[in-house]
Symmetry: C2
């Protein structure tokens, strides 16, 4: 079992501040842990598991430093209400400045505050082969455990860059395509040229400054009467046409 200081260090990874200061993050549960062990093996620092998890994963135990823990010990380091067999500590992945290129799409999120939404969008980006996801001002933190629950190993395949001051976006010379309620019908927009797709906060939409910067606006045609679509759902529908 890990000593007191190690325990404390792990518990601090439950907080945004602790993650930022240490450059590490936590992931929990058999499904997420297994995916991460396969996707980012070199970033994983340690694994804490119940004996029953270790018994059914001899291959993973052989390749990683797995510390056996009791249920009580796991409960002390877990962030879950019901601790789930295994917990992993990993180094945060290095992020690189996204480079726009003709024919490629980059996704830009404005104030997607809900970590579950951010995780779902990251998975959508991964499905459609989007290499770069940029988080503008007010987005959730990538290493919030709730992001990982919806995302899993997509974190290893999509480069996520934080552009909180909007400086990166300000330098881009490619088409900036806003998802908006007053744009041209999505199916009439030719996405071959590539560019940056701007997705806004669910209840407020895109902030006015970003709407002004946009060179194009697209809209998902509404046939019925719902006031809006969930931000992740809208992202999926638009990318399914552009990619």
């Amino acid at each position: 079992m890990p000593g007191k200081q190690v325990l404390k260090d792990i518990q601090r990874l439950g907080l945004k501040k602790g993650r930022a200061e240490s450059g590490r993050f936590l992931a929990e549960g058999p499904k997420v842990v297994k995916e991460l062990l396969l996707a980012i093996p070199d970033a994983v620092e340690s694994v804490y598991a119940l004996p029953e998890w270790m018994a059914v994963h001899p291959d993973l135990v052989a390749r990683h430093q797995v510390h056996p823990v009791t249920e009580a010990e796991l409960a002390r380091i877990s962030q879950l209400q019901t601790p789930n067999q295994v917990l992993l500590v990993a180094r945060q992945l290095p992020a690189r400045v996204p480079q726009a290129r003709p024919g490629r799409w980059i996704l830009y999120l404005d104030a997607i505050q809900d970590p579950g939404n951010l995780g779902t969008i990251l998975r959508i980006a991964d499905w459609f082969g989007i290499g770069d996801l940029v988080c503008g001002a007010g987005c959730a933190e990538l290493y919030n455990p709730k992001v990982g629950q919806s995302t899993m190993a997509s974190i290893a395949r999509v480069n996520v860059w934080y552009d909180e001051d909007g400086q990166w976006l300000g330098q881009q010379q490619v088409p900036l395509v806003a998802a908006a309620l007053d744009g041209i019908p999505l199916q009439n927009f030719d996405g071959k040229e590539g560019g940056i797709l701007l997705i806004g906060n669910e209840s407020k939409g895109l902030q006015p400054a970003l709407l002004e910067k946009a060179t194009h606006k697209v809209t998902i045609p509404r046939i019925g009467a719902a006031e809006s679509l969930n931000a992740a759902v809208a992202t999926g529908i638009i990318l399914s046409r552009l990619c």
Copy 2:
């Protein structure tokens, strides 16, 4: 302020059993309550609100029976961790047996257990003008308060029918189109004929019996590497092509 028995009756609407026995449901918070008061005014039985909510909604107060309550009283009947100004009790809406017709799409959900997902899908159906949503075995309950949070007034525009034993589906003679991982690419499927779109549980997909019944299978082409898409996101992408 409502008497003790009324309070108890409202509290029981926080439970599935209480909702089923009384045929009523609860909705909370200014946004949801306002939408429901406008969308299903005749189904609303009573509204409990803080004086500050009443002060800014004289039009709604004039048209509905609104009981003023204190914050402490609201906290006693609220299901929210942080009670939010106003709470409404309404009768559950009558559901009708969905009728398949040429050129129309009906959505059929298999074991969508998460109420948030069910609510998001209901809103998608409303956006795309789908008139009927059928919940097969193992779906969340429509009147779970978490469905309402993602759905709001869509509940008034989309007929939701529960087909837990699969009898309704067994009688349908229209195309049954399964969202699957091994179907034809979505964009190659001609949806003009209409039919029933079958959406499966997110982690398990469609149950084998439904996959066998399907007359067609469609797949959202994957360009990247994510293992799956969220069930609501997949529903949105497919309906955006079919409708």
